[in-house]
């Protein structure tokens, strides 16, 4: 309950803060969501993607 009041007073009360935190959260969410889906994709397709077999064919660079 106190959390609800704290959240309201810090974020929701002023519209400028609200909108600003929405955009900031959207930015963070975009990055986090992308990396999350990528992590799932990579674990689901482990061993099938090019980055999983690339080390076999790359000649020692430098």
């Amino acid at each position: 309950m106190s959390f609800a009041i704290t959240a309201y007073n810090t974020i929701f009360k002023r519209n400028s803060v609200y909108v600003g935190s929405v955009f900031a959260a959207a930015f963070a969410f975009g990055i986090g969501f992308d990396s999350g889906v990528t992590a799932f994709w990579d674990s689901w397709n482990r061993g099938r993607q090019w980055k999983d077999i690339r080390h076999k064919y790359v000649q020692d660079e430098e």
């Binding site: 309950m1 309201y8 929701f12 935190s21 959207a26 930015f27 975009g30």
Partner: protein, 279 residues
């Protein structure tokens, strides 16, 4: 009285106005036959509704018309004489104070949580919408970028080991000639020692050549786009035959109409393989 208020209008009737057969003057815009609605409190003047003892005109009957007698009959017309008091009715009893059910059971004891939840849900929708909109816009903008096949052609690799010192090589890159000059030490010294601040387009040689022995420039005269000739001109660099612009050994405009130095394209050296990548 409170429910009825007549709108008073004053209209001047023309003296020549036609009178209806009833004697009422035919006045446009003015309904002289209108009557005030019935008053709710009984003064004994009766109701102004349909008379109970006469069948209403819409119930049919015989009427006279210019085309002869005219009969109108409706089967469902009730006899006005058969009048029955409605003793049963379904309308609610009017009370002074309207009854409002007790909603207190449904009311949240504390509205803080609900308020925060509502703001949170709406804000989350805003977050997701903004994220989706940002992705859409950036994806759309990426469609305007050069496609992969164009980008693949946009780079040219040159093997530098085949270019001896003191020689020019001209290659094609994006349809334009590119001069590659393997400069000798004396040429480097000459280019670096020149007082570049007095030039038309002041630029030090260090800013033009990433490696002092390699000079990479677009072979397009900055005046009108001719291709200058190498190892010519008054300054031992390039000379444009079209209008006589002279460039020095660093490709800087020194004489003639050219306003700018020869352009240096973006390029990188691949030291491991001795290659130059333009683009």
């Amino acid at each position: 009285m409170a429910s009825f208020q007549a709108v008073k209008k004053s209209i001047n009737l023309a003296p020549t106005v036609r009178a209806l057969p009833s004697g009422v003057p035919a006045a446009p815009l003015l309904n002289l036959a209108v009557r005030a609605p019935a008053e709710q409190h009984g003064h004994g003047h009766g109701s102004s509704g349909p008379r109970a003892d006469v069948p209403p005109s819409w119930a049919g009957g015989v009427s006279k018309s210019p085309f002869g007698l005219f009969t109108k009959t409706y089967t469902t017309a009730p006899s006005p004489r058969v009048f029955q008091q409605r003793l049963l009715h379904t309308s609610a009893v009017v009370k002074d104070a309207p009854e409002v059910p007790d909603f207190s059971h449904y009311r949240a004891p504390n509205t803080d949580n609900n308020r925060a939840l509502s703001y949170f849900m709406v804000g989350t929708m805003g977050v997701l919408s903004a994220s989706v909109a940002k992705s859409s816009v950036s994806e759309f903008l990426q469609t305007m970028a050069a496609s992969a096949d164009v980008l693949a052609l946009a780079k040219v690799e040159v093997d530098l080991t085949t270019i001896p010192e003191g020689k020019n090589v001209i290659i094609k890159w994006r349809g334009k000639p590119v001069f590659i000059r393997h400069r000798t030490q004396s040429e480097i010294d000459e280019a670096r020692s020149a007082n570049w601040k007095t030039f038309r387009d002041p630029e030090p040689d260090e800013a033009r050549a990433k490696k002092p022995e390699w000079l990479v420039m677009l072979g397009v005269c900055t005046h009108l786009g001719c291709v200058p000739i190498g190892e010519a001109g008054d300054y031992g660099g390039w000379f444009c035959p079209c209008h006589g612009s002279h460039y020095d050994i660093s490709g800087r405009a020194r004489k003639g109409p050219a306003p700018l130095n020869l352009e240096v394209p973006a390029h990188d050296f691949n030291d491991a393989e001795g290659k130059l990548v333009i683009g």
